[in-house]
Amino acid sequence: MTARAAMVLLAIAVIALLAAAPFCLSSFTITLLNYIGIYALVALGVVLLTGFGGLTSFGQAAFVGIAAYATAWLTTTQGASPWLGLLFALALTGLVAALLGAVTLRLGGHYLPLGTVAWGLSIFFLFGNLEALGRHNGIASVPPIFLGPISLESTETIYYLIWGVLIVATIAVANLLESREGRAIRSLRGGVVMVESLGINVFRIRLVTFVLAALLAGLSGWLYAHMSRFVSPTPFDLRMGIQYLFMAILGGSGHILGAVVGAGLITLLQNALQDVLPLFFRDGEQLEVIVFAVVYVLVLQFARGGVMPFVLRFVPHGKKPAITAAAPLPRRAMPAGGTPVLTVERLLKRFGGLEAVSRVGFEVRAGEIVGLIGPNGAGKSTVFNLITGALPSDDGNITFLGQNITRAGQRYIAKAGIARTFQHVKLRPSMSLIDNVLLGTYLRTRCGFLKGALRLDRAEERRARFEAATQLRRVGLAGDPYDLACNLPLGRQRILEVARALAADPALIILDEPAAGLSRPEKMALAELLRTLRQEGVTILLVEHDVEFVMGLVDRIVVMDFGSKLIEGPPAAVRADPRVQEAYLGSVA
């Protein structure tokens, strides 16, 4: 039996057990399972948001609350059907999340979580003080859900709805993460410059991820309102919001199933503590927070990955499917040989009082390899960052294939056909080689979030995978494509960046020290690859310190020193120029 078959059997067994549960377990246990399912749905959103997207929210309980109150208000005061309540609840939750996200998601780091703490509190106080929402008394007699003629009023019947929704949502999120937009979500953790340089709109991905997590919370809130048939502010307070985050972290925020495991563990622990603590302490029930705090601090100090990594050790590891041949992705039309591709004129960049790049100008023509060389601190990487839009220039003009890209952002420039690598390697170390290269195909593929979640993207995905595997083979990384990028030595990580750049099918590829850290045979292979690319019509601009590598490869050289262009010409002429010798070796006299 293969590992994959074992996984499928395991999944079927778990689902069969879940389906059989109401027939063999007590009503109390089913109630517990209902709560676990409802919490897990919120935690699933947190896993997506925090574990994969790197965004932290303490305010998910507020979204649960908005949805619960929305459906409770609509079904009690307006007498609407709970299904209409679902639409209303999701629409309202999504709208609020989009507004809050639009405000806070541009800010990085700790501002978002602090913002979520603030709105979590505000919304809680709002629920407790609005007359229409029953103030602190809440809204009672919320109607049960009807599925056609079947009432989902009893614990055992709504159990199937809750767990059905949870299973479907989990599968959809898992599908999404394996898709084009899902890879973009996973690439959010770490700096944004690399992600934008691939043409991925970081803000948009963050916003959609945030809204998705809120919608999962909203779904949970709707189920909660019609299960407990009563809503009041307390279950949606900040404490609960924090609890949801910890469910995801305790379960393992790096894994989809961490949400269910975490929700289960915390619900069971809470239940156990409520039985045990009052035996020892006067205010036992409230003291469970101390136990929780201790557990959380210990988990964060000693097992940041949560419980899932330990569970996964006992689950068979499936062999990833081999990558099959597929129709290649469409390619862009390359400019005719010899026509100007990139024209840089009087480029200027100041950092405070220092002119890092002062009035530099050069031209790169189609089918050429141009080397940019100069001593350390000459401003080479700054020029690269100005061309690719990672830094704004202070003056001058950059034209690419007839378009003025001087003021354009990174994404626009990527779309125009420039791909790049970085001097300090920017990869996603915890993603596989193939996933890292697939990020490069982002602009050449179309499938969005919905197609990804519904797995309607497979045809395009096969083509993208084949393209990525081809590029990996081409740069000489033909080993296991599912190996993690962090397992490569630094020199080969640079080569992986080259493969990622190639996957974008660029007209101009800008390489920042691609040969650093490579062995001699590897350098020769790289030079051979670059020559092949030139034959295919790709134009290459590169910074490199290995003079032998550059001299044997490039058509023309631009030499920079102290931010200015020193000289430009064919390798032999540059090598003979006394000014170049002086810049590198000091004056002869």
């Binding site: 405000v103 703490v117 505000s122």
Partner: protein, 350 residues
């Protein structure tokens, strides 16, 4: 609203705001030096007010047990740390610093509990009791994670808030306390009445802000703290130990928190969990200042105090909504003025 009412509300707001200034400065101090967004800081303020209140009622302050509990855990953590690194001879010093030192004020408080001690003894003793809480928490929960990301530290810090409010309930009980006013004189300026309590709050906040400024500008320790906040690795290279600067930052911040608690204690009734909201409001002030600038934080905190005062006049039920809701436009303004943000690594798992 008449101008008179406006003026009264304004003065009231400045008084509350001055407490937020002290708390906000403490928060910025801790954040800039250790990168910890120290959410439980408000609890230190509340514990300080509750400690003084228990002493005034002739009861044993719960802080004694709280500090003793934390000191014992800190000693265990310290001993384990040195044993694992194979340096058992360092344990003695650790026990002295984290065990004996915090227990001295606790022992005094325990000794004089029940006797009717004078106010000049109670106030410094209450402060001395509360001050070790910050450094002890740092040692127990945060130092083992000193190299973690800002986000992870924030999550731990939120978990600590949970735990500290639980411990507060355990040691102080669920009932609320209000301390006796420190002074009760009243000044009249025309139709405006200013209590000496208000003046004391504003003056103390001003004096301690100034002392903090002098400390940063004129002392070597202060400069070490500033160096650490500018560049942690650079500071390490020139021989500034991160553990020491973190300790010092928490100690100073704890002191600011304890003083704030004494000052604000007479103006409102404190419960074991009142600190959370105070800390968060000071946070809103600090965020207005960008979480990095001391003068910015002071202005932001004053603004929050005044806003709260006016909001509670307008509709007291919604004052919290207004105060926390103001954070959203503030964040919007910051995100528009900041442009692209730094390359912050957002990792939860290590």
């Amino acid at each position: 609203m008449t101008p008179d009412i406006g003026l009264i509300l304004g003065i009231d707001g400045i008084a509350t705001g001055s407490i937020y200034v002290l708390v906000g400065l403490g928060l910025v101090l801790i954040f800039s030096v250790t990168r910890v967004v120290f959410v439980p800081f408000g609890d230190i303020v509340a514990f300080s007010a509750l400690t003084l209140a228990s002493m005034q009622l002739g009861r044993m302050p719960g802080t004694v047990y709280l500090v003793a509990t934390l000191a014992i855990i800190a000693c265990l953590v310290e001993a384990l740390h040195h044993l694992r690194r194979g340096q058992p001879w360092r344990i003695a010093r650790g026990l002295l610093g984290y065990g004996l030192l915090p227990l001295i004020p606790a022992a005094i408080a325990w000794r004089i509990a029940g006797t009717n001690s004078p106010a000049w003894l109670q106030i410094p003793l209450a402060i001395a009791l509360v001050v070790p809480i910050g450094p002890l928490i740092e040692r127990i929960a945060l130092r083992p994670l000193a190299d973690a990301s800002v986000l992870l530290l924030l999550v731990v810090s939120v978990a600590l808030t949970f735990g500290l409010s639980g411990l507060g309930l355990l040691f102080f009980g669920p009932e609320g306390f209000r301390t006796k006013p420190l002074t009760s004189q009243i000044f009249r300026f025309g139709t405006i009445v200013v209590t000496s309590q208000t003046l004391l709050m504003v003056a103390t906040a001003a004096v301690f802000s100034l002392l903090l400024f002098i400390f940063f500008e004129r002392t070597l320790s202060g400069k070490a703290l500033r160096a650490t906040s500018v560049n942690r690795i650079g500071a390490r290279i020139v021989g500034i130990r991160p553990a020491n600067t973190a300790m010092l930052a928490f100690l100073l911040a704890s002191l600011l928190g304890a003083i704030s608690g004494i000052l604000i204690g007479p103006t409102t009734t404190f419960y074991y969990d009142s600190g959370f909201i105070i800390g968060l409001k000071a946070f809103v002030g600090a965020i207005i200042g960008g979480l990095m600038s001391y003068p910015g934080t002071a202005l932001g905190a004053l603004f929050i105090g005044i806003l709260e005062s006016f909001a509670s006049f307008w509709n007291s039920a919604f004052k919290e909504v207004v105060v926390f809701g103001v954070l959203i436009p503030v964040l919007l303004w910051r995100s528009l003025s900041l442009g692209q943000v730094d390359e912050e690594d957002a990792e939860i798992e290590g």
